[in-house]
Symmetry: C2
Subunit: 311 residues, 2 copies
């Protein structure tokens, strides 16, 4: 194996995700007019920039900090777009453009919407790179959460670390796994209540760079609460959305599972109070869950492998 194998196959999985790619194709073709200047924030393999060229964009500024930008450049040349796309191998925060853009397009959504930093990067790009009255794709994102019962995953990935492994105590690793959120394919049979929309952000207006939501969900059936599952719905243009929610079986994202410290037995009618908040730009999430007199406090900052482990 080489490190590039995983990388290319990850981009393959995104390109063949028709929910994602097809929706962006339709949105860009409706918004971008011949002669427009377009910015693609986090262009990846370049597909959104190519959609913009096909829609008649006069010029596309495609920004990507990862090496995948080399693939985008190769494919752009192969398709005859090399004179209409300028590639920037950089973070969008560090890019200035020679002209303001008519449209900014981005697909930098993570499993729970914001952890790739879209809130900060899109707000910055809107203020510095977009014409007044220009269009953002997506223009808004909603976040959803639901309490879930996931005994197998919890046992295999969280509680694996409390068992002795080869005779040694690996329990400190559990602290890391229970303070991270995990991408998972989930079906609605795991839900213990009704999904709740806990946040809505309009990128064209917002000045916030953090997300904060408090909410209550009532349990609908007896079971064990293992945590919350979250997803996003991004409205690309009015009436055209993409989501990694439970109804989207083919999404390459999966849902985001936020575990709690230990499983809690719950009954129909029990009340779950929770607060979700992000660090600036949404890269890290904090989640607090109170249920049946117990309170759990978690944060993906505590799940990171920084050089000063926060244990």
């Amino acid at each position: 194996m080489t490190k590039y194998t995983d990388f290319i196959n990850y981009h393959l999985s995104m390109l063949i995700d028709e929910t994602r790619t097809g929706a962006y194709s339709r949105a860009v073709s409706k918004v971008v007019k011949p002669g427009d200047v377009v910015v693609d924030v986090g262009c990846g393999s370049g597909i959104l920039s190519f959609f913009a060229c096909r829609a008649g964009a006069r010029h596309v500024h495609a920004i990507e900090s990862e090496p995948v930008i080399n693939i985008a450049e190769l494919v752009a040349a192969k398709n005859g777009f090399q004179d209409r796309i300028t590639f920037y191998n950089a973070s969008s925060f560090n890019v200035d453009l020679p002209e303001p853009a008519d449209v900014i397009v981005t697909e930098t959504m993570g499993t729970f919407g914001f952890e790739e930093g879209i809130l900060g990067s899109l707000t910055d790009a809107r203020e510095r790179l977009l014409k007044k009255g220009g269009t953002l794709i997506p223009h808004g994102v909603e976040l959803f959460l639901v309490p879930v019962e996931l005994p197998q995953f919890y046992e295999h990935v969280i509680d694996f670390w409390v068992n002795r492994c080869q005779g040694f105590d690996f329990s400190p690793v559990r602290h890391l796994t229970v303070n991270n959120f995990h991408p998972l394919k989930l079906h609605e049979g795991t839900f213990l209540g009704d999904p709740l929309r806990v946040q809505e952000i309009e990128f064209g207006e917002t000045t916030q760079t953090e997300v904060k939501a408090g909410f209550t969900i009532h349990v609908r059936r007896q079971g064990w609460l293992h945590g919350l599952a979250g997803w996003f719905n991004a409205e690309l243009i009015p009436g055209l959305s993409i989501s990694n929610g439970p109804q989207d079986k083919a999404s390459h994202w999966g849902l985001a599972f936020f575990p709690i410290g230990r499983p809690v037995s719950v009954d129909r009618g029990n009340r779950i109070d929770a607060e979700m908040s992000s660090s600036q730009n949404g890269e890290y999430w904090h989640w607090n869950v109170s249920v049946n007199g117990l309170r759990f406090e978690h944060s993906s900052t505590k799940g990171s492998l920084s050089s000063s482990p926060p244990l």
Copy 2:
């Protein structure tokens, strides 16, 4: 998802690979004597260092360049080894020790044995860090190859890129995928001939830092040749080996699939001539395959996403 989720789960997959972990446990317990000084090159989550402590090592020098070393430190403290293990967050090439080691242990084998650089790092560590007459675990690695028929994988991962995707020509990406080797779970039904041992390296003696092998394999049945599949066998101590070969169903590694430029129809008795060679330390591989008058030349250096794409 956070980047740490994948990372921790990858180390989980290695720890629960009993072929790998159990064999190292037995090898270390047989070699390491009370009072020994041990070096663990690329210690990962620390399991080999803990085996060495359990076997009575007086001191272990555990070297790891990745952030997973923080997990190793936490687990070491939890198990009471904090005074007996010194951790170095560095490449082993840059580490000097206060005392020569009795034993060097490492599990830095990739799918095709050498791509994590074991040949260079172990030779360097042997010369600089090991006592004369000290022991290396593993002391040697063999490499095996077999011609394989893999129509589905070839179509989905290699030839995906020759089809138009969302109306665009992504064919330059095929050049990258066909010049990488891919980790794959394979069964013997895909084999078109008998596996051949193409290389054997004894780490205690070798001065070579590159691998080079030329060989011929005869086709045993009619089919389509899509490339070669490779694996390693590492002898940890005499009589105790680990392998990611086809007989090891539970290996976390899988086999390494080296594709050729296009499928070739072959018949029983056809001759396949091939040369495999590595870059220095084995990080990159070059593979040339001649069959039925056709010759294919590939290299994972051509499959890299460097800033100057070598197309």
